[in-house]
Amino acid sequence: MYQSESVIRNHYNNINDWLDQMTSKVILEKNAEAETHFRNIGITFSTNNETARERIIPFDLIPRIFTYTEWLRLERGVIQRAKALNAFLADIYNQGEIIKASIIPKEIIYKKKSFEPSMFGFSPPRDIYSPIIGIDLVRTSPNDYFVLEDNCRTPSGVSYMLENREIMMRMFPDLFHNNRVTPIDDYPTRLLQTLMSLAPIKCENPEPVCVLLTPGPLNSAYYEHSFLSDQMGIEMVESTDLFVEGKYLYMKTVDGPKRVDVVYRRIDDDFLDPLCFNPQSVIGIPGIMDVYRTGGVNICSAPGAGIADDKAIYIYVPEMIKFYLGEQPILDNVETWNCEKEQELKYVLDNINELVVKEVDGSGGYGMLIGPKSSKSSIDEFKTKLSTNPKGYIAQPLLDLSFSPTLIKNQVEGRRVDLRPFCLIGEQAQLSSGGLTRVAMNEGSFVVNSSQGGGVKDTWVLAE
């Protein structure tokens, strides 16, 4: 919000005035109102401890604001990246040109667990493997955005983006009268259009039947699953609701079997088809992969799409953009050391006090080391881990994430934020006019994950 010490950036002026006129009492009331609202609509996440009440993610009342021009650049950059990632998937599951061109070593790809050999030689509708991509961005100075990671499988968080806006509009209608905030509530419609535009070849229905496949109520993103299917007006199914007969996929309805054309799956590859992936799995639809390969159904995202967001592949995304699109990357990667390479490992071990070390397969802010903020013992622990299993880790510099004004005990204080906008690719590629801003609520913290005390904010993109 601040340009430099205490100079407020122009587009935050309205918000600053608004904050000035709110008394502590009002802020307390509004905070309580937001919490009640989130509980009532059920936007909670379950914890492993069954007796504990479901938790809600802390919501900060001060929106994060992007100007139209700021956003334009992000939009172009994210769409560019999402296109390149899909082109990469189409390539490695077919000709493998990028390997032949020696841009990415083939071991990195073929040895990954997230690479799915059974996808080889198969092309999904429109060659789109990953129609919904969430790109995690951080900002380090007014014009420097970096991509922290890509999420090509089943990125979550979009329900927070939508609900954060709902609650803000409900609590502070005047803010929206006085600021020209681009609406985001058409996201579910666009998502549905995207899914429908990816109908399989054997679908004759002009309006393809889409379903959302959820692992069930115990999944931490279950709220989002039900929210999205509700907003799209499609059935939310569990794998027991689906079955394969002949060369098609059906859901069990009170009228009897009904054919399904597109499955927006929110379960992992391993649990899709016990015949193909994990024979031990009790969830899953036996035979669905066969139907998929013969064009009877489309599965979004495609099995094996996860290879594209692997942390070891991440390093090569700028190269992919040049290779497939012939363009210069609009958004930069964070400098990353691949510990698999001897020289880079050495650098990491020598400079570990300054670096952030992450597990290649880790997520949720777990299993990472923030060098500058860690004790000697945990640093030593990581050194051992790195030496014994170097290919399990990457390292990055500790980025000075931008601060966003955040209400802490009724005082405005700066807290670090990141941003996840959502990109849809079907018949056309488009970016949500906003995204999920996550905020590290603890003073001095760099970790924005909700499992580690992170909160969320409404994210505004101002209209032109």
């Binding site: 609509i41 059920g42 509700d230 309805t253 009170v254």
Partner: protein, 311 residues
């Protein structure tokens, strides 16, 4: 509609209905506990427990029947599958799964109820709070029912109401079964205070105390009450009203006419009988036998609905 969705909708309204019944029974018990205990009658809390179908579970947990424990068992106890708490918890967990087939208001009604229930559960209650708890429960259930009025009149709607009336038919019948002796002519008690009191328990527990007064002129008699609760089509908790509505929502289903047909055939006789029967004949035949048969029939219809639609 997904079979599972239909099943969950059906059970949501069954649970909400059951929550109300249990709360009303508690209210009856509470009311009775304020009157002097008439000699020769059992502890009222025991019949409340029987009517709620919870007597066995209660006795496994407690040695003596005491108001405090009965209240806790019927309202908050997590080990009692029919406690108001569990009904609301189950309804809410089902609603979470099928909120896509609901209006947002219906989901809110159920989820808010659940959230408030968690708050209630954390507080400590005293005897005199019971009326507030029952009042709260009835309000919440009404909020839920009200929210249903804006639903599309599709199969989901009909499954919701099938669940509601199957549950209500069962609850009303079981209550009658526990209390049927009150409606049998016993010369020594006729016209006595005890009868009046027992009758009023029955009517209150079926939320029909004042309705009865409006529906029947003259003296209160056992026959009139039996007629009201079994055969009167204007009484929304009578057995005949429930059956009528089960038939209505069943035949309104647009899915699978042959399945609907099979279930209807099983139900048809009971419906005809209950619409044409005279209360005197039923009392003569044996109210207890009649009600027992009725309960069995409802349970078999419930089984068929599960078999035909939810599998």
């Amino acid at each position: 509609m997904l079979s599972r969705t239909a099943e969950y909708l059906y059970w949501i309204s069954r649970y909400m209905e059951r929550a109300e019944t249990t709360a009303r029974l508690l209210d009856v018990g509470y009311r009775m506990s304020l009157f002097p205990n008439p000699s020769g009658y059992n502890n009222e809390w025991e019949s409340v427990l029987s009517a709620a179908g919870a007597i066995e579970g209660y006795k496994n947990k407690y040695n003596t029947i005491e108001q405090k424990n009965v209240e806790d068992y019927l309202f908050f106890d997590e080990s009692n599958p029919s406690s108001v708490y569990n009904c609301i918890l189950n309804a809410r967990n089902n609603a979470l799964v099928v909120r896509t087939s609901f209006t947002p208001e219906s989901w809110l009604a159920v989820n808010k109820t659940y959230q408030e229930m968690l708050n209630l559960k954390e507080k400590k209650f005293t005897k005199s709070d019971l009326p507030d708890l029952t009042e709260w429960t009835i309000e919440q259930v009404n909020l839920f029912r009200g929210s249903l009025s804006s639903l599309l009149r599709n199969d989901g709607y009909n499954f919701l109401f099938l669940g509601l009336f199957i549950e209500r038919a069962d609850n009303s019948a079981r209550l009658l079964d526990v209390k049927y002796f009150v409606l049998l002519p016993k010369p020594q008690y006729i016209g006595g205070n005890i009868d009046n009191m027992q009758w009023s328990i029955l009517l209150r527990s079926l939320s029909s105390f004042r309705a009865f007064r409006w529906a029947y002129d003259g003296n209160i008699t056992a026959t009139k009450i039996a007629d009201f609760l079994v055969l009167n089509n204007n009484c929304p908790r009578s057995l005949s009203f429930c059956i009528q509505n089960i038939v209505k929502h069943l035949t309104n289903l647009t899915c699978s006419p042959e399945k609907v047909g099979r279930i209807y055939n099983n139900l048809k006789d009971l419906n005809t009988k209950i619409q044409e029967e005279k209360i005197e004949t039923i009392v003569e035949y044996g109210l207890h036998q009649f009600v027992t048969q009725f309960i069995r029939k409802i349970s078999s219809v419930d089984n068929e609905i599960h078999k035909e639609f939810f599998n």
